[in-house]
């Protein structure tokens, strides 16, 4: 009984120590826009005012010939690091860094092409990055 409790305690301490050597960091820029959020846009009918009412003001408006392009940008970045050298700091005067880390940033752009009257002509996701995840494996 006592041995079981000691083993459980040891496992808990080991898990807590391992946790202190991990780092989870996240960066988000603007809210992501999903295909279902833009399903209301009908090329040839929807106006810029209607798009703005639903999605907010775009991050960028650019000229393209006689038309305009409105772009919405959003990013989601995840970073995970594990430094096993940190475990040594509890009993060693030297703490070498033994880290594995990986950061991934999902950068997506949603754009609408508008004619001179401000009516949507085309819409597209310029990038559709794969969803990011916390993963320390750098190879």
């Amino acid at each position: 009984m006592r041995r079981g409790m000691a083993l459980t305690g040891l496992c808990l301490v080991a898990a807590a120590l391992t946790l202190t050597s991990c780092q989870w960091r996240r960066l988000t820029v603007n809210d992501p826009i999903r295909p279902e959020d833009v399903a209301f846009i009908l090329p040839g009918h929807t106006s810029l005012a209607e798009v703005v009412a639903k999605l907010g003001a775009p991050d960028e408006i650019a000229a393209t010939g006689d038309a305009m392009v409105a772009r919405y940008r959003f990013r989601d970045g995840k970073y995970f690091k594990i430094d096993l050298g940190r475990l040594l700091s509890f009993w060693s005067p030297v703490t070498p860094e033994m880290s594995m880390a990986r950061g991934q940033v999902e950068t997506d752009v949603f754009q609408v092409v508008l004619d001179r009257r401000g009516i949507v002509q085309e819409q597209a996701f310029a990038f559709q990055s794969p969803a990011t995840r916390f993963n320390p494996w750098p190879f």
Partner: protein
């Protein structure tokens, strides 16, 4: 025994406090909603807009119009020992002018009012 428990809890709480941080970053000036509401389509001029909001961050020429673009970014970061989250959102004001320099349209979007301090990096 109970005293020791409280002391341990207090020490753990202090340890956590030592490893936490809340950071805020602000780029650009807040938009005055009254000034935005005062922009009248068909009457307000380019000079009026520049006088109220200052020089724009960007001037775009598109579809025979000049567009003044003003930006504001706000960032909030919560940090607790091994986890942290940094959220950034931007507000944008676009003022469209016709060939005569008169306001034709105004687009304003505010996202920074929904910006939150978050520490937990998982989930949405």
């Amino acid at each position: 025994m109970r005293g020791w428990g409280i002391l341990l809890l207090l020490m753990a709480s202090l340890g956590l406090l030592g490893g936490c941080a809340f950071v805020r970053g602000h780029f650009g000036e807040d938009f005055d909603s009254d000034a935005i509401a005062a922009i009248q389509k068909g009457t307000t001029t380019r000079a009026d807009v520049a006088a109220r909001f200052g020089a724009p961050d960007e001037i775009i020429h598109a579809a025979d119009r000049d567009i003044f673009h003003y930006r504001l970014y706000d960032g909030k970061m919560g940090y607790l020992l091994i986890v942290s989250r940094f959220n950034i959102k931007g507000d944008h004001l676009y003022v469209f002018f016709n060939r005569d320099g008169i306001v034709e349209d105004v687009i304003y979007g505010k996202r920074t009012d929904r910006l939150k301090f978050q520490v937990w990096p998982f989930g949405d």
